[in-house]
Structure formats: C-alpha cells, structure tokens
Symmetry: D2
Subunit: 163 residues, 4 copies
C-alpha cells in the first residue's frame, strides 16, 4: 500500500472567479489517480491545504507524525515547491522514519489549469520513484529524483538544481 | 542520457476532423517533456508511427536494433498497448540488450484528447522507472511496472494484470 | 425559453478506450451551458444520439415533430455536420414551423477532446443567433449563420461555404 | 469585416509559475478564432492588456477613438468584466459611434486555464451578436446580450443581471 499525504501547494490550487485569486478547495489527487488508471492500492489523506510559503514547523511536525504513524513504508507527499526541500530536511531529522521511502513532489502550474500543468506528469513520476527507491527522503520534480539534501529550487527559473 | 523511441500507439493518435478517424501525425513526446519541465538529457527518435495491432516482427526487429545501437542503457519505448507485451517478449530474446533497462509504455486515451488522457501520467511514470530499475524489459502502465513476462493486458477492462 | 434538441453528431462523441472507436454516451450540453455560465432559461432534450450519416427521414420526422410541439419559437438543434443541411431542408418543408427560428449547429472535433474542439465556440454562437434571427431554418458553423438553402459543407476542407 | 479590439481582462490572463500571480502576455484571440474554425474576415488589434479595475478614462478614450477610426461598423471589444459596463457608458457618449454595433465581452476564468474557462463560449456568442444586432453599445455575457445601460455585474455571484 502507498500512503499519499496532501499538504496543498500549487498542485491543488484553484482559480476563484469572484476575486481573481488562487485558493484551495478539495484535492484533485483521487481523480488524478483515476485518470492515470492507477491500479495500485493507494490511500489519500489530506493533512492540510496551504501554500508552502506559509508552512511552519508545527505543520511539518504534523507531516512527520503522520509519516511515522502510516502503516506502510512508501509515502508520497504533495507539497508547494518553495519550501519542499526545507520540509525534506525536517523529515530527515524526525525520529522513526529511517525505514521509509518518502517522496515529496509538487507542481509549478495548478492541475486545475488544464493542459499546461506539470502536475499529472510529476504525480506519475513520484508514484513510480516511491515504489523503487531505498529508504530516504527525496524530492521529485522535473522528471528526476534527488535526496533532499542534494537539491535546491532555483527561484528565478522555477527548476530544481543539483547541489 | 535517456533514449526515447516512439513507435506510435494510442499515445500519439490524433483525430482527423475530415473523416472522423484516428491517425498519426507528429509525436507529442518532445512537447510533453517540455510541459513536464523535464531537465534530464533526453533524445527522442521516432522509429515508426503505427497501431500496435499492425506491428510485425520486422517492425520489432527495427526496435530491437535501435535499442542495441543506442549509446545508453536507459531506453523508453512508447508503444500501443495491445501488443506491448509481445514486443517485450521479442526484445527479451534480441541479442545485446542484456545490460539495458528497456521500459515500454503507452496510453489508453490519446494525449491529444486533453484532460481525459492517461498519457502524461504514464510518461512521467515510465521515465522514472527507467532511471532506477535494473537491466531488463519492463511494461509500465497503471502507475506500475512489471517484467514483460509477468503481465498481460485485459482486453475487456483495458487494465494490465499481473500473471 | 430556448429549446435545445440533441441529435448526436461529432459534437457529443466520446472515445472508447477499449476498442479505440468513437461512440455516444450522454450529451455534454447541460455541462457546457453551465461552464458557459449561461443564465438563459434553457431546456435540453436528447432526441437521439446518432452519427448524421446514419440519419434517416424517420429520424428527421422526429426532429420536426418535436420542433412543432416545442412551446417556444427559439430552437437550437445539435447535429452531425455531414447531413446538417439536408435536415435543414427537411425542416423547411415540415408544417407548422413557419414562425420558429431553428438553428442547427455541430462540431468538427468532439467536445470531449478538450481544448482542440470547436464545439464550445459553436454552441455560444448558435445560442446567440437563435435569440435574434427572424423565423427560419439556419445553419450555424464557423462563427457564421446561413439560411439552410444558402450553404453547403465542403467535405474536403470541413468548412461550410456560401452557395 | 469585423474589428476585434483586445483590452485585456481575465480573458487573456496567464499564470506566472515563478511568482504564482496572473499576468498578461500575448492575446489568445487569433488562436481562438482559428480553433473556432471561424471563416469571417476578422482583424484583431490589441489596444492594451490591462485589468479592467485599472482602466482609466484615458484608456477608454483610446478604445473610443479606435472604434471611431475602424473601417467597419461591427466591433467586438474584449474587456475585464468589472468595469465593462462603465466602458459601455463611456462609449455611448463618444461622438461618431452612432452607426456602429459595439459588443463588449469578457470571461470569468482565463482562456489559458483550459476546459474550465467560459471565454471560448463568450467569444462565439459575442461574435454572433455583433453580426446581427442594430447599432448600439452592448454587453455580452452568460449567453445573452444587453444594451449597456440595462445590465450590471453582480460582484458577489459573478453573473450579469438585467437592471
């Protein structure tokens, strides 16, 4: 079984046509797995729906705690890209996760924005890496994976780069 | 470097609005990698654009030969789902591919048909598996991978099943 | 009130991922009016779901009869493009429609095929023309309207041309 | 010939994946007419690319001047929905537009956001109304048209309502 934890991020943002701003409604994850015709046993649980720039260590503690309590060693976390690496660092120090493969992924363009979004590709990528990588905390973006401490987001280009 | 070979299949089919039938034009792969914001070194080469029900052993020989000649050991082949497993079997017996990781993937709904297609998810998935699986011939569909001889397509449901 | 009659056509075709052929399921019309944020009183009724190449005079009689029975003079008919003009001719001779504005429209690419389809544009166009044109039988395609006897479909290009 | 003037608005907004905000790039209008398979002679000219909340009377003067100078009496203006009615009022007092049919339309969701946007429907609708309505200044939204002084936008619901 693969555990998926939703934390929000651009991945799940929607456009509010009343005020023209982005906001969070329900996650798209279950519908995305269905569209991907995924037949793996997957459990999707929404932990929070926030912009990762607003993520605090209290939020990260919730993620760590849920990863610890998950009854599987394969965990996929959707997360805003801005502090994805920081959350990776937090999880790397959380106790009891040593035997787990935890993959953080996100999107640069909301899934709800149709055929321009990278989200569906990233989800397929993260879901695949989490099945085969050895225990550790990983970032999956741009078709690649990195151990969390070997990557950073280039905020000017929006691409992730090897440290 | 990752070598991508395009052979056609539902993945790359288009709708012809003149006669209402599906046909092949150019592959969508390069545009898909771009949309996926992929930063891996990837070479896309179109070997053929055919429906996999029409694929002959002469076609499979071309695929095998190009896999053999490829200067990398990570090879992704897009392929129609109907005979994907058969091509996997052919490649497993072709000489000189022993050290290569060859992943075959496809789609149940053409990428050109927008937000209903599974193609973009499958591409992210296949691209990820090809980077980490040991040498062998694999089928990647439904978010999963199988060695070619442990899977079949259920033609009634359209899902791939473990043998 | 505007009466909408659905007869099928490319407009409402879907892709069957099991056999790779196009088929009809439910009409997309209600969902399209919702997405268009349409606030007009509209009644959508499905008369048939067929390819217009298979439309017989018995089918056309059903359309004519329902146009006659409709409690409004503004009627929009979705229809396959191949015999749209022929159905226009049939309706022009049907008794009791003299005071009605009947607009036939369709699509060259199924609405279900996402951002390549012309269907949503054609629907907005047909819905607008039906509100303002005088009684008569019209074809609406390519952003234009024609009285049914002043137009033909060019089957080589897929565009409608003035006679 | 139909003259189309682009002024921006939600219609043409894009998502900036670097800062997560909406912005303007090039207009989508020409590509939309092509997708709508429109065969009318249309000239698209971008006058400005602004949010209609930022539109000043100096901007409106530019719109009025260009409407006046246009060599056709059928004019379609894309415009943000928030001050669309206000611009309609400005145009109604501008000299030399008495013989022209000017239709203002917009969108509640950007065209670039794929299959959730109302823009493509509104464009088909506005293009149709501009061909058949008598001279005057009109608002076209929600599948309907109103003379500019008989409508207002309900900012809570996002729908246009008859005064």
């Amino acid at each position: 079984m693969i555990q998926v934890f939703v934390t929000g991020g651009t991945f799940d943002k929607e456009y509010n046509y009343i005020d023209g701003k982005l906001f969070f409604q329900d996650t798209h994850l279950p519908r995305m797995f269905e569209r991907g015709r995924c037949t793996l046993p997957i459990d999707v649980k929404t932990l929070m729906m926030i912009d990762s720039l607003e993520m605090t260590d209290a939020d990260r503690q919730i993620i760590a705690h849920n990863c610890f309590r998950a009854k599987t060693d394969q965990i996929l976390v959707t997360h805003g890209t801005d502090t994805m690496v920081e959350t990776g660092g937090y999880l790397s120090e959380a106790p009891g996760l040593e035997n787990k493969t935890i993959v953080l992924t996100g999107a640069m363009i909301p899934y709800a924005f149709g055929t321009s979004s990278d989200g569906f590709f990233n989800l397929g990528s993260a879901l695949s890496f989490v099945q085969v990588l050895p225990p550790g905390i990983y970032i999956v973006m741009n078709g690649r994976y990195w151990p969390w401490d070997q990557v950073r987001k280039n905020k000017k280009t929006g691409f992730f780069e090897t440290l």
